[in-house]
Amino acid sequence: MSTDTPASAPAESAAERYLAVQRSDEFAGLRRALRGFVFPMTVAFFLWYALYVILSAYARDFMGTKLFGSNINVALVFGLLQFVSTFLIAWLYSRYADRKIDPVADRIRAEIGEVTREHGPRG
């Protein structure tokens, strides 16, 4: 449909600026830093979670093994470890983002010439 244009048609110069930034080495570094962390980590926690669900479905004897001579079994410990890994990954990511992502993102944003706004233009 002819009326279907993108939401905000930026001035040509703005479009060129974004394209130039996107093709810069600095931005490539930022993209690499982000993807280099989040993609492998996503694969890792998904596989770890999948292992837990698959064992819950197909390895019931193993999951039912009692530990420490108490009523605590492998299934419970495995489940609690999912909590531990979730908290751990969240903490690791937050530390990584603070150190490796935010400074670069802030620098590029400043270079683009946008003032860092605490609030949106309409809010």
Binding site: Q22, F27, T42, A57, N71, F83, T86, D102, I108, G120
Partner: protein, 557 residues
């Protein structure tokens, strides 16, 4: 005779106290809503609470939005009746937040404005993509809303002790249920139309504190009863369940092994895997969760809110473990199923038992029961308000302003339409819930997660990370995933052909799984890919703008 009388007196006290506490909650939240309405002037205020919430506040609100009655009462109930398997559910609900944290929250916050579709339509043709996103948002939200509201009707009747044959304020049980649904619906409409995102957020924050407080107190009491020895709590729960150590292992509820029926056993286990995938991938595609990321000023604050949310939600699910096993041990499955077959009253019944034990007598029991019942009401209200807000925002911002008015609507018009939409959607939800109240619609929550994971998530991830993605791909992904999930569920045993179906007397079932995710999620991703490669459309400039803005926060609203 005396004990019966005492119990009767106790239940009247509990009922009066529950009603009082509930009215207090309603009064407080309405006051907040009116205060919030005075602070709500612009579209950003209405849709995104002025983007003025802190990471902590938004983290609490996310918790309040996410921890539905299904989590609080439902998971505690599943654990109380089926043991370990309820834990499987909560783990899926928690791990899911890593998808939101790592892949979605910050990039969405940076590049979007009010709705999920802002990001999906960023570099696409607006009208087809926004239409698809609005259809999907409203479908997911209405499914979720129906499950919550029908549940609310039944739950309130149970919590107030309104049984068939008894009357409450002159109403019989059925009338009281309908009245409850109408009241819950009316309150959610008021929260949203009057208070907008700001009012809704504060309602969710208050609810999160109440829920965490209630769960924490009950957990401490359960653990104190067992001298903080987890093993003896588990042992007691297993013993009183009558199922022995199987109660502490997976398999009583999900992935059930049917002796002598290898086919059914196979389907049950695949169904468990399917549920697990939908739970973990659905959260980051739920529109009412996604719009919460717009209420904070920056991507860093969005990250902080997810971190808080993970902490709060994770803690809460650990507490439900103690609540569920505590209810199994101290209340017992017989007493629970006598109240509610699905186990939804396990947590309130546990509260009553703990109150009798620790606060002393029936009055103590009635007091704690009333508190927990009021917390359950608060939980329902906060969640339905969030869902109504998400769907009315999408209807106004995506469909009205960008599809019908082609982006030419004024801010004032848009907000007015959003308010009217909330009223209309709320009214539709009330009517549908009243019609659906005698049907088993608990599956709609899992279906909402499956649709979100099959349609919305592929579209969001492709949008943010795949350069080649285009309008056709986005439309294919959303409709493909949505239709696949709904189609498969329609022909599954949760809709027809089984005693527990929505329509138990009909039978058009041929798809053996209750959860479609294992097929519909890959199908949604596949549709997104096919739709993309069959279209030549590709806008390198807009992708550059989206990527730079998403990663750096430049030009963020």
């Amino acid at each position: 005779m005396n004990t019966v009388l005492a119990a009767e007196a106790g239940s009247t006290t509990a009922r009066n106290l529950t009603i009082t506490l509930f009215l207090v909650f309603v009064a407080v939240t309405l006051a907040i809503t009116i205060w919030a309405s005075r602070q709500t002037k612009t579209a950003t205020d209405f849709y995104a609470g002025g983007r003025s919430f802190s990471g902590f506040q938004n983290g609490m609100a996310i918790g309040g939005d996410y921890m539905s009655a299904a989590s609080f009462l439902g998971i505690a109930g599943i654990i109380a009746l089926y043991g370990y398997d309820g834990f499987l559910y909560s783990i899926g609900f928690l791990v899911a937040w890593l998808v939101a944290l790592l892949l979605v929250a910050e990039l969405l916050r940076n590049s979007g404005r009010y709705t999920m579709a802002d990001v999906l339509a960023f570099r696409m043709r607006q009208r087809p993509v926004r239409t698809a996103a609005a259809v999907s948002t409203i479908t997911v939200s209405i499914f979720y809303l129906l499950a919550q509201m029908v549940g609310a009707g039944a739950l309130v009747a149970l919590l107030l002790g309104i049984k068939p044959g008894t009357t409450f304020l002159g109403m019989d049980a059925d009338t009281a249920k309908v009245a409850t649904i109408i009241m819950v619906g009316a309150l959610m409409i008021i929260y949203v139309t009057v208070g907008g995102m700001k009012g809704t957020t504060y309602v969710q924050i208050v609810k999160a504190f109440l829920l965490m407080g209630g769960a924490l107190v009950m957990t401490l009491l359960v653990l104190a009863k067992y001298k903080f020895n987890l093993s003896s709590l588990l042992g007691d729960a297993a013993a009183s369940s009558g199922k022995g150590s199987a109660f502490l292992e997976p398999g009583l509820r999900y992935g059930v092994e049917v002796a002598g029926n290898a086919t059914q056993t196979f389907y049950n286990k695949v169904d468990l895997l399917s549920l697990g995938i939908a739970l973990v991938l659905g959260t980051a595609g739920l529109p009412h969760i996604l719009i919460r990321f717009y209420t904070v000023p920056t991507a860093k604050a969005a990250r902080k809110s997810v971190l808080w949310a993970i902490g709060i939600i994770g803690t809460f699910y650990l507490l439900t473990l103690a609540l569920g096993f505590g209810a199994a041990a101290l209340v017992g499955s017989e007493a629970i199923t006598a109240q509610d077959k699905a186990g939804n009253t396990a947590a309130p019944q546990l509260a009553e038992a703990l109150g009798i034990d620790f606060l002393g007598g029936d009055l103590g029991g009635a007091t704690l029961l009333a508190i927990i019942a009021a917390v359950a009401f608060a939980t329902i209200l906060a969640v339905v308000a969030g869902l109504t807000l998400a769907s009315s925002s999408s209807l106004a911002h995506d469909f009205y302003a960008n599809v019908l008015k082609k982006g030419q609507a004024s801010e004032r018009q848009e907000v007015t339409v959003a308010r009217v939409s909330a009223l209309v959607i709320g009214a539709i939800a009330i009517v549908l819930s009243i019609f659906a109240q005698s049907l088993n619609v608990a599956f709609l929550v899992a279906l909402a997660f499956a649709v979100a994971a099959s349609g919305n998530l592929p579209a969001i991830l492709y949008s943010l990370f795949w350069r080649r993605f285009n309008t056709s791909g986005a439309v294919w992904a959303i409709y493909g995933g949505l239709l696949a999930a709904v189609f498969l569920v329609f022909f599954s045993p949760v809709v027809s052909g089984a005693p527990t179906s929505m329509f138990p007397d009909q039978d058009w079932q041929w798809f053996p799984l209750s959860n479609p995710g294992i097929l519909s999620i890959p199908f949604g991703f596949l549709c997104g890919w096919i739709g993309t490669v069959i279209s030549k459309e590709h806008d390198e400039d807009k992708y550059a703008e989206l990527e730079v803005r998403a990663l750096t926060g430049a030009g963020a609203h």
